[in-house]
């Protein structure tokens, strides 16, 4: 494990700004957020999660996929990716990005995402849970991969996990790192111990049991109840670090000769998400939309990727104006399920599910 001082971090960030586009955690209107860093002073390493996740840096809310010409029918793919560094991701965010990596490489690999991801350096940092964090219950509390560097804030500076060769290289190039002293490591371990005992939100069943529990909860009264207070505003999707759905649109220019194909974030809690030709909507009631979203996090995608797609960051809970709480809802489903009295194998086979 390496160590740099606070001045050492400043030198690292200043160096990175010279050669990369640098984004990091800042205070925006006094609230934790991600923003562009053009001066090392702007970076504020935050203990609690940002309002929006960091997904926009690798999966922008709006991007051009191709430019087309309607006169000759030609088209040209657009892949825009610049060397960039994102500083300040917490363990949950790093887990989320690893899941996004799998999603966008699955099936037909997504050229735009993968190009951007390949040019992205990730510098993680440690954190302390607020009342809505529940990564401990999901198993995403620590990151062992998915970062180039991971900073543990200690009394005198930062103990650093070096995750990749690229991470080691920037550390060498821009700052002076030494081997972390035993006292710094003890300092870090004490912090992690305190952190592990600080979670106020917990899930009442192991994450591996959730797909089966969700599978038995389609008819739960919970869905109608939360559906009745839901706006269908899509905020939970948009702040989620693993929601990756998008809409693709063709936008002709005013001359009707050229145009662009763009993709924009879409959200399964919006009314038109499941609307198809003929005006049919698979999930018109808001409760059905929420049920779908929660199932995507704990069941449907777990079937494909063998991991929960909720990382426990709590962003959807914080953003929801009517206090729909994915952890509380899940615990309610767990309690309902316990009443059913089904003795369940915690990890079910895919065959049983189908």
């Amino acid at each position: 494990m390496k160590f740099i001082t606070k001045t050492g971090l400043k030198a690292l960030v200043t160096g990175l700004i010279r050669d990369y586009k640098v984004y990091g955690t800042v205070k925006k209107d006094g609230f934790p957020a991600y923003g562009e860093i053009t001066d090392a002073k702007q970076l504020v390493l935050l203990q609690t999660p940002t309002h929006l996740s960091a997904k926009g840096f690798v999966f922008p809310e709006r991007e051009t996929l191709l430019r087309f010409n309607m006169e000759d029918g030609s088209h040209k793919p657009v892949v825009e990716a610049a060397d960039q560094v994102i500083i300040g991701l917490h363990a949950c965010d790093i887990h989320a990005m690893l899941l996004m990596d799998r999603v966008f490489a699955y099936g037909a690999p997504d050229a735009n995402y993968l190009a951007r991801r390949a040019k992205t350096l990730v510098i993680g940092t440690d954190c302390m849970p607020d009342e809505h964090c529940f990564c401990q219950s999901i198993g995403t509390m620590h990151a062992t991969e998915g970062f180039d560097l991971f900073l543990h804030q200690t009394k005198n500076g930062f103990a650093i996990d070096v995750g990749t060769k690229r991470g080691a290289a920037i550390l060498r190039k821009y700052t002076k790192a030494v081997t972390a002293a035993a006292s710094e490591i003890r300092n870090m371990e004490a912090f992690e111990k305190k952190r592990a005992g600080s979670f106020k939100t917990r899930l009442d069943a192991p994450a591996a049991a959730l797909p089966a529990i969700y599978a038995r909860s389609d008819a739960s009264p919970v869905w109608d109840r939360i559906g009745s207070i839901c706006y269908g505003c899509g905020s939970c999707n948009n702040v989620c670090p693993t929601c990756y759905c998008f809409d693709v649109r063709d936008e002709p220019a005013a001359n009707l000769k050229q145009g662009e194909r763009v993709r924009v974030w879409d959200a399964c809690t919006l009314e038109e998400f499941a609307l198809v030709a003929g005006g049919h909507n698979f999930r018109k009631p808001r409760g059905a939309r929420l049920r779908h979203r929660f199932n995507r996090k704990f069941r449907y995608l777990t079937d494909v990727f063998n991991a929960p797609f909720c990382v426990g960051c709590g962003r959807c809970i914080r953003t929801c104006l009517v206090n729909i709480n994915i952890a509380e809802v899940t615990n309610e489903l767990i309690a309902e399920d316990a009443k059913r009295g089904i003795i369940d194998e915690t990890v079910r086979t895919k065959k049983a599910e189908r």
């Binding site: 209107d29 957020a33 309002h51 899509g234 924009v264 009314e271 038109e272 104006l321």
Partner: protein, 231 residues
Amino acid sequence: MVLSCENELPEILRQVDIVNFREAMTERHEDYEIAFVEGSISRKEEAHKLRKIRKKARVVVALGACSSTGGLNCLKNRFPMRYLQEEVYGRGAHKKKAFDTDTVRPIDAFIHVDYYIHGCPIPKKEFLSVLTALLMGSVPKITNHPVCVDCKLAGNICVFEKGKTCLGPVTRAGCDAICVTYGGVCWGCRGLVDDPNIGAHTETLKRYGLTADSVMDSFNLYDRCAIKRKR
């Protein structure tokens, strides 16, 4: 807003002939296929004119808040007409035909409207996207999600988090949440989404300290006509 499309207007004029545009030209022609109609209806002769436009045009597009939802003008509907006429035009005005004014209505209270361009003011890009879609023969996309989406896409901190209130969660987006982006709040100028959760938002506004009356006032500012119709 249409006239401020300086970069696109020359291209647009290559595709269409503008034959009737009261605010921009004096010549008039009554032969047209697409009609963009601005303003709400508050007089009988306006309703008559509107029906004539509907008969001539293949496509009618409501342009702007007044036309689409009635807009601010609908505030008038909470007062008795006679009171309004005398307040604005003086005593005895209600007896004069020249001041004959009626309840304010959006244009779709009188005719079938094919497409809507919402907002006060309308976003330039929305006008262009509806126009290009019509010229291409495709169906214009009218946004039907709440402003919360545009706020998140713009990276805004939620105004509720700052202790303020807004109508974003029930208001039709498509504006890039421009008011919030520049430090304001959403007043709902684009009208409600197709399926707003008014009950939930009433509760939220109360939870953030608004009284029942001020909740109704905020809904009524732009949406009096729509709220009345929904109930």
